[in-house]
Structures are given as structure tokens and as C-alpha cells.
Amino acid sequence: MRESKLLESPKTLAGETPVLEVRDLRVVFHTYAGDVKALDGVDLTLRRHEILGVVGESGCGKSVTALAIAGLLPENTTVSGQILLDGRNLSELGKEEMRQVRLKDVAQVFQDPMTYLNPVLQVGFQIIEALITERRIYEKLLIDQRLQEIDQIEKQDTNTMQTLEKERASLQASLQSGAISKGQARELARDIAIQYLKLVRLPEPERVFKMYPFELSGGMRQRAMIAMALVKRPKVLLADEITTALDVTVQAQILALLRELRDKIDASIVLITHDLGVVSEVCDRVAVMYAGNVVEVADLHELFKNPLHPYTQGLMAAVPRPDRSTVKLESIKGSVPDLIYPPSGCRFHPRCPKAFAACPQRKPPPIEVSKGHQVECLLYGG
């Protein structure tokens, strides 16, 4: 009854504008060793309420893409291309405006909750600190939540009803005047945080709220980080390798949590991982990245059934399957290229078993092979 707003979620409509669209994103890091061409024209589309998986080896640029979307790349970078959030081009925004975007619309969850949580601050405080510090921005969020709760409380005795009415009046006054006090914000934020801690299935959320990161287990910390990201009701959630640092059982729990949450929250998720198994558990669509390019995008089942790009095929073949007796584990020849001096043309060609003469000469453009299934490979045209 209390989790009203959290439960509603409209279904994705086909033909709706995607909530996040990345077009031809290029990122170059200027280091003392040379220019690292990390992203070489990345295209991604995230539809409303979907979970998009981004898979690739370490160093292929998945995290860089996430950082670029959030505007968190370090100083020594050159960024070009477009990042459209609900039609608004983020790459044109200045630092302060990007900060506002991070406050409201884009949330990130990172890999290792031990190092990503500040060890000297309480977990609960870290979850709500933005809500308090920037309370003017979150005012509506904080107050609406409480107003909804008040609406839903069943009729009680007159005394309690009167107190509730007074509270409702004062909250609405704050909403009108636009001035909410720090103490008020803290109270409201704390309640919201506890609800989300419950949502991510943390036991004894009031106790967890007061704990420090080192007092929690890895899985609990990761859940807290997820709650931290969701508390501000973002449009886009960037989940960067969130299960990588966890052991397998905990990993499964977090993925189950994600499946549970997708129906309850209003956000669209980009799930970054190097593990195909993770992708197959929760994602709707998958983008495969290699050396700064998105080489293939498809719906989950389509990708597994019909991988088109040789790299994807290599990835699939590399996964050991208990139902097939294999003598040798297949692996992709060679190693990840040096991005300061990347291969010419298609960046995968040195390792590609199906490469031919044209591959080093031209970078393959994205080709739509079937509905929703896109590849960047000269085998299919270009």
C-alpha cells in the first residue's frame, strides 16, 4: 500500500522515442604515451523501460561509454558525437548543466561497492546526501512521496487524522513556496531511503541505514548502491559491471533483484558486463562492443540464436557448455589491440577468422540485417 508510486510502470510502446540515444560517439584520451582512441563511433539506443546489455572484453570501451553519457570523463579527453537524453543533446551541455542531469536523470552503479562507497560515512547518509544537499531540486520528489503516503493511510482516529492534515498542509505550503528546510528534507529523504532499502531486499533497513560500508557484506553493499541510484528516480540507470566483484551466488541474487525491479521502477537500464551469462539472465536487447565500436546489436534471443559478427560468434563459442563434450576450449586468437595505434579499417580484422582483403581498408558501417538486428561487418555489406 505504501509503495504506490514505485509499483506502477507502463509497458514499452513500440515506436516511442528512445529515452537514450548515442550517435557516433568518439572519445580520445590524450595521455603522455599518446592519444588513446577509446571510442570510435559508438551508436546505442536505449528504449524506455528496457534493459540493454552492453557486452565486451575489458578495455573495449564499455565503461568509457557510460562515463561519457554521464559527463564524467576526465579533463584530458576530446569528445565528439551526440548523446540524446529524451531528445536533449547532452554533449552540448556545460559542466554545471551536466551536473544537473546527473542529479535528476542519470544514475550510475559501479563495480566494487567496497571502494566506491566512502568508508567514513554512513551508508544511509550516502544514499540520501544528494537529496538533502540539493533539496530544492528534489523538493517535488520528496514531498509528493509523502503526500501520497498520507493519502493512502486508512482512516484513523480524529487526533491522528488532524496531525496528518496539518502535515499535509505544511508540505503543500512548502511545495508552493519552494522552500523546504534541511531538517524536513532529511526526514523525508530518510523515509524514502528506507523504502528503497526494503525494495532492494536488505534486511533490517533501519539498522543498515546507520551502518558503515565495512560493516556490510559485498552483496549488501551492492544492493545499497542500487538503492542509492534509484532513490532519485532516474530516467537512465547505468549499471557498470555491478556483479563482477561478487561471487556467483550473490551475483545470481543481484540479477534476480534486477529482474524484480524492472517491473517496479520507472527507469531504463544499461547493463554493462563482460559476462554473457549475466546478459542472458536479465537483458532485453544486447549490444556487443569491441575496441571502441558497437559491432552488433540485437534482441537477446536473436543474438544467441543467430550471432552474425565474427567476434560475437567467437564469444559464444568460447563459453564452455556442459551439454556439449568439447575437447578443446575455443578462444579468439590474438589479444585486445593497442588503442593508441589501433588497427586500420575494421579494428577486429587482425583477430578475425573471416577477415579478407577489404577489412583493413574500410571501417564497416552499421548494417541492419533483420528487424532490430544490426551489424558492423563487411561480410554483410558496406
Binding site: P119, T133, E134, Y212
Partner: protein, 362 residues
Amino acid sequence: MFLLIFVLVAISLIVFYLARGVLPPEYSLAPYITPRMSDAQKLQLAQSLGVAAASCPSYQAFSSHDPQCLAPLWGQYVGWLGLIAQGNWGYSQLPGLAGTAKTWDVFSGRFPYTAQIAIGASIVTFLIAFPMGIISATRNNKLPDHASRITSLVGYSLPTYWFGYMLQILFVLYFAIGGRGLLQGSGSLATQCALCFASPGTINSITGMPILDSILSGNLPYFWDSFLSTILPILTLALGTLSALTRIVRSSMMEALRQDYILLARSKGLRERIVVYRHALRNAMLPAITVSGLIFSFLLGGVVLVETVFAYPGIGQAVVSASLVVDINFLELYVLVTATILVITNLCVDIIYAVLDPRIRY
């Protein structure tokens, strides 16, 4: 608590045994002799203190180190402990004072002066080092960073006493108005400089520290003159510690800003100022706080040099004279008091650290 007692006992033992074991026994007796004692009285005193053996025939035998007169050190130690437990540190051997003023009085009279400049230097150190270190770290490799790094490196390399004299030369010789230097550069009350009041009057001695007492007595000219006389010593004393602390704050802030939780804080959309102060500084302060103990240690040592250079009447200046005449009791008192201060300071530092870092508490 345990540590305090252990350390003090250990120090007192070490210094005692070292001093009295190596030096001839006359030195152990000297602080307790008044000018008018007869030889017989001196011998009696020596024996009651455990400095001379009961079998010692005469004071002459004692002073010529007759083996009959040698007494075991532990006996002396016990005797000495008994005396200081009563607060009896004998008479000071400092030049000009021999036998007339009590060691304890000399020490406690001078102590507040040293406290003034030591506390002043600590305040200056912390007030300047933290902002400079933070600015240096947040504007890494830009002009403020380079400037602060160079100045702290140079400041760290200067001999304290030399810097003191440089300041003296600058502010008394070079910066002069009407033939008088801008500041006085010696003594604890500046009356002969261009900026001072020539006759500031008197004050009531309440805490012993002229700066505080002059405020409490309502005598502002005296306050001003006292204050002027502390500026140069404090600056000289603070230079080394300030430079060292700035470097440490800078490097620990840079280390903290590299951490992953800073990225998370930024990704939440927090203002940069909050990220730096609430997240980075909180963590960066920890190494800086641990260093504070060493900083106080350095300050207490530097006081000796600074007081000598500026002829400032604190215990640092007295220690040098005490060592020249080998006033054992004064030295021992000095060492014990300094050690007590340092151990207490370190205790406070540990407590502050535990307050800041929840991981330690559990």
C-alpha cells in the same frame, strides 16, 4: 594511560641513569646545596639523598671521588623520586641564579612564554597548511600548485635559526622607519621598535602568558607589544612544520581525490565543493592528523632554537644555558615535562583519529 606512565618512567630512568651514571656525583648534589652550607652539612645532605655512601668520611673525600663515597645509582634514583614527588627540584644552577631560585619556579615562570609561541605556531601551521594543501591538490599542476610546492619545499629546507636571523635582519635592519626597525626581534616585550608602544605599563600575572594576561588586565598597549614580540618567533617556528604539513595535506588530498568513491559522489550530481570537502577531505585528514604528533614534537624541539635566536625568555632558552652548566635537575624536569606533553598530545591525536575514522572504533 598505561603508555603515559610507562613512557615517563622509562624516560626518567634513562635520563637519570645516563646523566648521573656518567657525570661525577657533585652534579647530583649541586641543586640542593645552598651557598651557606658548611662542608659537614653538604656531606650530610649528600648521604641523605643517597648520593654519597654512609661510609663516606668527609666532604673532601666525596668531591675527590674517593671510592668509599660512591653510592649505588638505584638508591639515588629512589631518593630523587621521593624529592620530586614533593615537588622539590632543588635550586636552579642557571648562570646568575646559582642557589637562589628554585628550579621549579624558574621552569614554571618561563613555561608560559614557550607555551605562547608553541601554541601560536601550531595555530599558524594548521590554519595555513590545510587551505594551501587543499588548493594545491584541487588545482593540481597549475600555478597555485607549483607556487605552493616550491615555497613549501624551500621552507622545509631552511635551518630554523638561520631563518630566524634572516627575519630579524629584515624587520629590524632593513625595514626601518626613522632609524628604528619595524619590529624588535628580541625579548618578550617589544618597546623599541617603530610599531611598538614605548611604555606599555604593567599587567597582572594571571596565567603567566603575557598575551592572555594583558587582555585579562585590560592593558591593550601591553598586549600589542607582547604580540609584536611573538610574531617573528612564531613565524620562524611555524615555517618548517607548515611546509611539511602542506606537503602531506596535498599528497593525501590527491590520493583521496583519486579514489573510486569520489567518482560515485560526482556521479550523484553533488557539487564539486561538497565532493572535495565532505568526501575527499574527510579521508585525507586521517594521514594529516597522524602526522600532528610529529609536528608537535618538532615544534617543541624548534622552540629551543627560536628562543635562542630571539632572546625569548622561555624554557627553550633556559635549556641551552642549563646544558652549558650541566644543571641536571633542570634538564630532567624539562625532558619529563616535554615527554608528558607529547604523550598527551599523541593520545589526543589517537582519539581524534578514532572519531574521524569509524573503522578504527570496531
